[in-house]
Amino acid sequence: MSYHRPLDLASAVDLLSQPGGVIIAGGTDVYPAKQQGRQPAYYLDVTAISGLREIAHSNEGTRIGAAVTWSDLLRADLPAAFDCLKASAREVGSVQIQNAATLAGNLCNASPAADGVPPLLALEAQVELRSAARGTRTLPLADFLKGVRQTDRAADEMLTAIIIPPTPSGAVSAFEKLGSRRYLVISITMSAAVLAVDGDGAIIHARLAVGACSPVARRLLALEKDVLGKTLADINITPEHLADLSPIDDVRGSAAYRLDVVAAQCERAMRRALSDE
């Protein structure tokens, strides 16, 4: 067992060629998941890798490095389309967690209730993976997340960046989270909306995603299509719009309850996105 904290990416992915390692950044998922007596072959700490804690903008969009924390994101100057992501950042655990936890870790942990996933899905995020053996690949977040605690990341791969393609001009967004208490709470349901409207208030771009209502958070494609050309007042969310969701019963709420409230929540996310607040 050993602990490594390389300064460059090449060393990190080299090390990952060896089996049995655990990648650690903020530690906020690694430690709670730790089982008594079990130790990985090694820890790969990615927080000292050069360039990994940067948010960069280019024609291809916004690149969020794998060591960027939620607090880093909150401090960054980002367009209004990212408001949903910033709002979710404020809901991740607590300040203590936001100061340590990374967006990349939130994705790799692949919890159905991961706060970062609905906003990133609504922003059509891609993830970049790198291995020593096969180099770099990029795939949509929706394909990266395979199921509860399952991702497409191979054991020798590391998630190196989250890439958000350019959003339509004037796009706005919002995030809604429902929990049983104010802070430090796992979501019962959450919804993110990224919208753009024309001069008359008609929706011309809509990306809507819901978390904690299916093994992996999902976009509501039927609803996205249906709202196009409509103003807020004309939108009526029906069960068909939510047909892709498959919530479960757990201690936080029943499946029926989740389906019942998520429509109202989606509507609120859209309303908030388009409000001036």
Binding site: R5, Y31, Q35, S94, Q96, I97, R181, Y257, A264
Partner: protein, 912 residues
């Protein structure tokens, strides 16, 4: 490449000093700080980022040290409360503010809370309430209800005054400086680093039979393992319990376990060896047996019998009856009935059970967090089959108790392990272990029928409640006894019948939790009183005032108090708020379709001390030859402030400022038994013993000096000065003979509340005094989501005499926060909510402003008129919230917690 070389040493700056450590790969920063660097001010409450107690600053940013790899802080600045308190002016100012507001009660969350607050204050010196909540949302506190912490940060005028500490004044907690500096030592803070540790092997099933494999061989062949303990290692009786007729819980199960988390064995090993120990490697074979997991299943004929002699798993019951309940219901003009349920509630103190033991000159010494050191000693006497003179229990500071630290937990394992190995040993429960194995609030299933005449007078009350007492009795019999006595609430009811039963199941033992079953029965009674008032067309508050108990009116137990019944004053104290908030709510609701506000009321009462049983406290005080005034204060301070309150009472009785007292705490070798911290008895019972001790010591001195009764006493070096109308007098202490404790003057006094036994119908005098309470709450319900947001509480409490008004408010706030948790979010489900992210307690964003109205209707038995308070508070909270939800939405929730899902389901059902 050299980056491939693993990290072996880590150098960083800790509180301004460069340190170098050699942690195991991936060691948590919290462990390294506490064990390698001595920073025991960093507290561990959950090891999962759920409680924030371990918060430290890394390069000025607050993080959970339990989630931070030690290697990651290389070359960075780490700051903890201990260091900040010494050198940082912001922290020092905050420490004063915390003490001025009573913002630290037990103190276990204080380091995390203050460190997080310092990070905020450095960036935002004058934060808003919302900024404080956002900054401190990650630190859980179970004692204070958070509002005093918010007040400390936003600059509210101090509650505490610069006073001598006479009864009635808001003295700061006498142990406040230790709490706000991180110096206070809790259960896991006293063992030297590197001490052998204990790992308890626990049942993974609700009910199972088990057989050990080659345990001895396993221990012998595993490096670092010293010994194993199981039932066979117990020299005395392998049983413990808190009520003599119900001692039924084994230290180690022998062949069958009765609940998930029950202990079967304990390994003793070095910390390094235990770090690599996988539970699955322990040689034991489990055979799962069908469990009885609820009270209905447990009473079926085919259900397994948990204990011999308790047919159908009925542990025991309680009964109170007066008049003719059924006849009165028959003739009542209006009758309402309901069925109410509640689940297990976890105490969720931020300090898991922990302790340390060693053998010192043939005597076993146990240091642990406890609410009842002498009961711990008595339990160990039986388990160890040792004379009590060979056992010493030295309580550490207690990081919250609320009832569950009345029962023993780590103590027998520690004592047995220290005796078996001859070496010091240490045990700190994990959060999950604490939640699995500690006692809980009893789940309840209550049916109640209440009637009234059309004039609004109560006419008939019939209560039947079953309580899930879990696998072992613990304090279950107390709950069964207390509930029928209290289920009436503080009202005049002439025709009353109340029956309770405790039922065993294969669930964790349910025991003592702030209120002993009364919060559950109050939900039924106070909910139905609203329904009754509505049905009568009466104002809900005036209905309660009309029926409120008064002096010279018998209780349902036939007990008549000629004085001290303060419920009417509590209720009338709510009249202005009731009118104002009802009006404000009506206009809010007229303007909002989805958000609906409501106002709820509830009252409560609670008898202080044991129910019809002896309940003495003894307080010893004395003067040493050098003039030191010593108070042996054995009433465990678990955050509520017994150290402060008992000191204030003693100081007032003796006639000196509190600062003149040298306090010696609980220690079974040196301090007399002040009883358990339970039943809201310490202010009343130990307070009386302190008063008697102070008065006796003073009288002795006055007599020796032949001075007037009103003489002013001061203590000097080897001398006592007195001043009276005749002038100044002096007593030279060097001429007096010191006793074995070094006292030249001493006064040890005992107080035992006067009670009388209850007869077969529960008639008698169960308590010498009751305290009274009434709460009002405004809530806002999001009817689309089912979420309930409390907006404001007004809490009126009759405390007889507020010995310390700041501490009274502290109890009110903390009790309300716990009642709010029980009402809205808390439910312990074995196997599912065994941590603090699935089991939710209120955060700093969940507790609204609380206005406390202190009523002082003096009690003839209480010291200076004081009554107990701790448990009274959360009795009205949950029903007040449920009544407010009903007021807001028209739907009545009869099962707590009223989670968003339950509230929304009820709203939908009504709409349908």
């Amino acid at each position: 490449m050299n980056e491939q070389v693993p990290i072996l040493s880590t150098r960083f700056t800790l509180d301004g000093k460069t340190v170098e450590v050699f942690p195991a790969p991936g060691a948590r920063l919290s462990e390294v700080l506490r064990e390698d660097l001595g920073a025991r001010d960093v507290k561990i409450g959950c090891n999962a980022g759920d409680c924030g107690a371990c918060t430290v600053l890394v390069d000025s940013a607050p993080v959970c040290a339990c989630l931070t790899p030690a290697q990651q802080v290389a070359d960075r600045q780490v700051e903890t409360l201990g260091g900040l308190y010494i050198s940082d002016p912001t922290t020092q100012a905050l420490a004063t503010r915390f003490q001025d507001m009573g913002a630290a009660q037990c103190g276990i969350c204080t380091p995390g809370m203050m460190v997080s607050a310092v990070a905020l204050l450095r960036e935002t010196p004058r934060p808003s309430v919302e900024q404080v909540q956002d900054a401190l949302g990650g630190v859980l506190c179970r004692c204070t209800g958070y509002r005093k912490i918010i007040d400390a940060l936003i600059g509210t005028a101090p509650d505490a005054q610069d006073v001598d500490g006479d009864v009635g004044t808001a003295l700061r907690h006498v142990d406040g400086p230790q709490k706000v500096s991180g110096a206070q030592l809790f259960g896991d803070d006293v063992a030297p680093p590197g001490t052998l540790e204990i790992f308890v092997i626990r049942a993974p099933h609700p009910r199972a039979a088990f057989e050990f494999g080659d345990v001895t061989g396993f221990v012998a062949s595993t490096p670092g393992f010293e010994a194993v303990l199981s039932a066979a290692d117990i020299p005395g009786r392998n049983l413990f319990g808190v009520i003599p007729q119900f001692v039924d819980q084994p230290v180690f199960a022998e062949t069958e376990t009765r609940f998930r988390g029950e202990a079967i064995a304990a390994l003793i090993a070095t910390p390094e060896a235990l770090a690599g120990f996988c539970v699955e490697d322990f040689p034991v074979t489990w055979r799962v047996l069908p469990p009885a997991q609820d009270i209905t299943a447990a009473q079926q004929p085919e259900a397994a019998q948990l204990h011999a002699g308790r047919a159908r798993n009925v542990m025991c019951g309680g009964f109170v009856a007066c008049g003719a309940a059924d006849d009165a219901l028959e003739t009542a003009d209006v009758v309402v009935e309901g069925h109410f349920q509640s689940g297990f509630v976890e105490h969720a103190y931020i300090e898991p059970e922990a302790g340390f033991a060693q053998v010192v000159e043939g005597k076993i010494e146990v240091h642990a967090c406890t609410q009842a050191p002498v009961m711990d000693l008595e339990a160990l006497e039986d388990i160890l089959a040792m004379d009590r003179s060979k056992i010493r229990v030295i309580p550490t500071a207690v990081g919250g108790g609320f009832g569950a630290k009345l029962d023993i937990s780590v103590q027998p394992y520690l004592a047995l392990a220290a005796l078996k190995t001859g070496k010091p040993v240490r045990l700190n429960y994990t959060r999950t272990e604490s939640m699995q194995s500690s006692t809980k609030r009893h789940p309840s299933d209550i049916r109640l029928k209440v009637g009234a005449t059309k004039e609004g007078h109560l006419s008939g009350f019939n209560f039947y409640g079953e309580f899930d007492t879990g696998a072992y009795a613990s304090w279950g019999p107390t709950v069964a006894n207390r509930v029928p006595v209290h289920a009436s609430g503080p009202y005049k009811i002439t025709d009353y019948r109340a029956e309770s039963k405790g039922i065993h199941t294969n669930n964790p033992p349910a025991g003592a939790f702030r209120g002993f079953g009364v919060p559950q029965s109050a939900i039924a009674q106070e909910s139905l009183f609203d329904v009754l008032a509505d049905k009568l067309g009466m104002d809900r508050l005036e209905f309660r005032i009309l029926n409120a108990l008064e002096n010279d009116v018998p209780t349902v137990c036939g007990q008549v108090f000629a004085q001290g019944v303060g419920i009417k004053q509590c209720l009338t104290g709510l009249r202005p708020a009731w009118a104002d908030e009802r009006a404000a709510t009506a206009s809010f609701n007229a303007a909002n379709a989805t958000l609906k506000r409501g106002v709820g009321l509830a009252a409560g009462w609670y008898g202080c001390g044991n129910t019809s049983l002896p309940n003495p406290s003894t307080i010893k005080s004395g003067v040493l030859a050098d003039g030191t005034l010593v108070l042996h204060q054995g009433a465990m301070d678990i955050g509520q402030g017994a150290n402060t309150v008992i000191s204030q009472i003693f100081a007032t009785a003796f006639g000196v400022p509190v600062a003149a007292i040298t306090r010696i705490g609980a220690d079974t070798d040196v301090t007399p038994d002040a009883g358990k911290t339970s039943a809201s008895r310490q202010t009343y019972v130990s307070g009386n013993a302190a008063r008697l001790s102070g008065e006796a010591l003073r009288a002795m001195i006055l007599e020796k000096m032949n001075v007037a009764q009103d003489a002013t006493l001061t203590l000097g070096q080897g001398v006592i000065h007195a001043r009276d109308a005749a002038g100044a007098h002096q007593l030279d202490l060097s001429n007096l003979v010191a006793d074995s404790d070094g006292f030249v003057l001493r006064a040890e006094e005992t107080y035992d509340p006067p009670t009388k036994p209850l007869d077969a119908n529960g008639q008698g005098a169960p308590y010498a005094q009751f305290g009274y309470a009434a709460h009002l709450v405004v809530v806002e319900v999001d009817t689309a989501l089912g979420t309930v947001k409390p907006i404001k509480f007004v809490a009126a409490h009759d405390v007889g005499r507020a010995i310390n008004p700041m501490l009274v408010e502290g109890q009110v706030h903390g009790g309300i926060a716990q009642g709010l948790g029980m009402a809205l979010m808390e439910e312990y489900i074995p196997g599912r909510t065994e941590n603090l992210h699935d089991y939710l307690i209120p955060t700093i964003g969940d507790v609204p402003p609380i206005e406390t109205i202190i009523i002082e209707e003096p009690d003839a038995h209480g010291p200076y008129g004081a009554k107990g308070l701790g448990e009274h508070v959360l009795i009205p909270t949950a029903p007040a919230l449920l009544n407010a939800i009903a007021d807001a939405t028209g739907v009545r929730i009869t099962q707590v917690p009223a989670t968003p899902a339950r509230v929304r389901a009820a709203i939908k059902a009504k709409q349908a």
